[in-house]
């Protein structure tokens, strides 16, 4: 119900009647794709759906209603609370964070800075609303593999987009923070650069990330990790989507301070991960004690493999 309510809240009041059936898809709903003067496309349970004029779901493309530019503009304004300027930084990176911890990817006409870097996106013509799921208990089968005694190993979760990396990370954070069968609760620092993990509103997490968790919301990963390290003394540091050499450098600093690290990264397989250049210093140093590889099974995310620091498979098909 909470998810349905959060999905409905993405849309302005006068458009909500059209989106009730979409929200009704509940936990199976993965993505909502909105494009100017194109049919609305939904991905739920691994299948593609369209939305007709009366708000009913259909597989027939011919019956699909086109989304007008005005409706798209209203949805954008509503998502960013009539404050596009407040999303300037995020939009320059191609997304907006919506209430409920959803991330909304954007495309349109890019505005450049004099130095050629992206400043903003105007005339937004496409939105990709990625539905964040809170799956409590999803980490339970994985957790025993992530501990060495009572110490949490450095864990890297990898999967292609949309396979539940952030969902699993969120639940691991919650269980590590609250304590579990393997170890008592530990202080967890979360650098939530894209507000997807904790879904903060005015700094307060909307998702359950545990009682010993401190969240730095909307902060760049590298800077955020150092800030938390200096000020909050976490035992475990969690970040989403490592993607650059700077992230890796900051992570190395965290590791030097004795923190355990929970992180995610895009990648289809462990082999693909090993080919990522920026990650080589960490892989060669066997920094990560566990690699959790995710995939999809029956439209839901599933743990395909858990590997150790040497890449040996410890568990499969959890």
């Amino acid at each position: 119900m909470q998810l349905e309510r959060n999905v409905i809240r993405l849309f302005p009041e006068y458009l909500r009647f059209k989106w009730r059936s979409v929200a009704g898809l509940g936990e199976t709903l993965q993505e909502i794709r909105l494009r100017c003067e194109k049919p609305v496309i939904l991905y739920a349970g691994g299948e593609e759906w369209f939305l007709d004029g009366s708000g009913k779901l259909t597989r027939d493309r011919e019956r699909a209603q086109l989304l007008s530019g005005e409706e798209l503009a209203q949805i954008v304004k509503h998502i960013c609370r009539y404050s596009l300027y407040a999303y300037e930084e995020e939009m320059s990176r191609g997304y907006m964070s919506a209430d409920g911890g959803f991330r909304v990817g954007i495309a349109g006409e890019v505005v450049l800075n004099p130095d050629g870097s992206v400043r903003n996106v105007r005339y937004i013509s496409s939105l990709n609303i990625r539905i964040a799921h809170e799956a409590k208990g999803a980490a339970a089968p994985v957790l025993p593999w992530l501990y060495n005694g009572e110490r949490l190993e450095n864990v890297l979760i990898l999967s292609p987009p949309g396979c539940g990396k952030t969902t699993l990370l969120r639940d691991i954070i919650r269980m590590v923070s609250d304590g579990n069968d393997c170890a008592p609760g530990q202080t967890v620092g979360v650098v939530d650069e894209r507000s997807e993990i904790a879904g903060c509103f005015q700094g307060v997490p909307g998702n359950d990330v545990g009682s010993r968790t401190d969240v730095l919301d909307g902060c760049p990963k590298g800077e955020g990790m150092m800030m938390l390290l200096r000020s909050m003394a976490p035992k475990v540091m969690a970040v989403d989507e490592l993607g650059s050499r700077e992230d890796v450098n900051a992570l190395e600093q965290v590791l030097k301070c004795g923190c355990s690290v929970l992180a995610t990264i895009h990648g289809a397989s462990y082999e693909e991960l090993c080919r990522k250049r920026f990650l080589q210093p960490l892989l060669e140093g066997h920094v990560f004690g566990r690699f959790v590889v995710l995939g999809r099974r029956d439209g839901k995310f599933a743990v395909e493999q858990i590997r150790d620091a040497e890449g040996r498979i410890l568990a499969e098909g959890l």
Binding site: R5, R9, F11, P12, E13, Y14, R16, K77, H78, C80, R81, Y82, S83, L84, Y85, A86, E88, E89, D99, V111, N120, R122, F201, Q202
Partner: protein, 174 residues
């Protein structure tokens, strides 16, 4: 004796009416300064923390005291925009501020200007948004200063005229 007392009362009443007019001007000036302060606070919040407009309203509302006054209106406005009902900012602004403005002594064009606020500040760029909100603050500050200047002369004339009217009425009635 009674006629003298009546004349005094007529004079006092006329002076009182004049004083009321002066008081209304004073209240209008205070309200113009209040809106100068509110828009200034909002511009400051946008410049400093780049928070969204509903959060700006909540923050500015918190800084202004009193639930019945503008602070309470802004806090209600912010809450309504954050409560997930999906209401349009212009509708909510017009409902909340419209009701409040009806109780003020501001001129119709000043009320219109305030009601146009959500439409006037829809910028993609933070600096321009801040500038647009700050322009509202400057506008009301200028109006307040002009009103202060005008008030001195207008008050003198109002008081002189009302006392003169009172004196004339007293003479005619005597």
């Amino acid at each position: 004796m009674l006629a003298a007392m009546g004349a005094c009362l007529v004079l006092a009443g006329a002076a009182g009416a004049g004083a009321c007019l002066c008081l209304e001007r004073k209240k209008r000036i205070a309200q113009l300064y209040l809106f100068t302060q509110v828009f200034g606070l909002m511009a400051g919040e946008i410049a400093y923390s780049r928070i969204s407009l509903p959060e700006v309203f909540l923050e500015a509302g918190r800084r202004l005291e009193g639930d019945q006054g503008l602070g309470g209106v802004l806090r209600r406005l912010g809450k309504r925009l954050c409560d997930g009902t999906g209401q349009d900012i212009r509708t909510v602004w017009e409902q909340e501020l419209g009701e409040y403005l009806r109780r003020t002594h501001l001129k119709p064009e000043e009320r219109e200007r305030i009601l146009s606020f959500p439409s006037a500040v829809q910028y993609l760029d933070g600096a321009r948004q801040q500038e647009a909100v700050a322009a509202f603050s400057r506008g009301f500050s200028e109006k307040a200063q002009q009103a202060v200047q005008a008030q001195k002369e207008e008050n003198k004339i109002t008081m002189a005229l009302s006392v003169a009217c009172g004196a004339l009425a007293a003479i005619l009635l005597a």
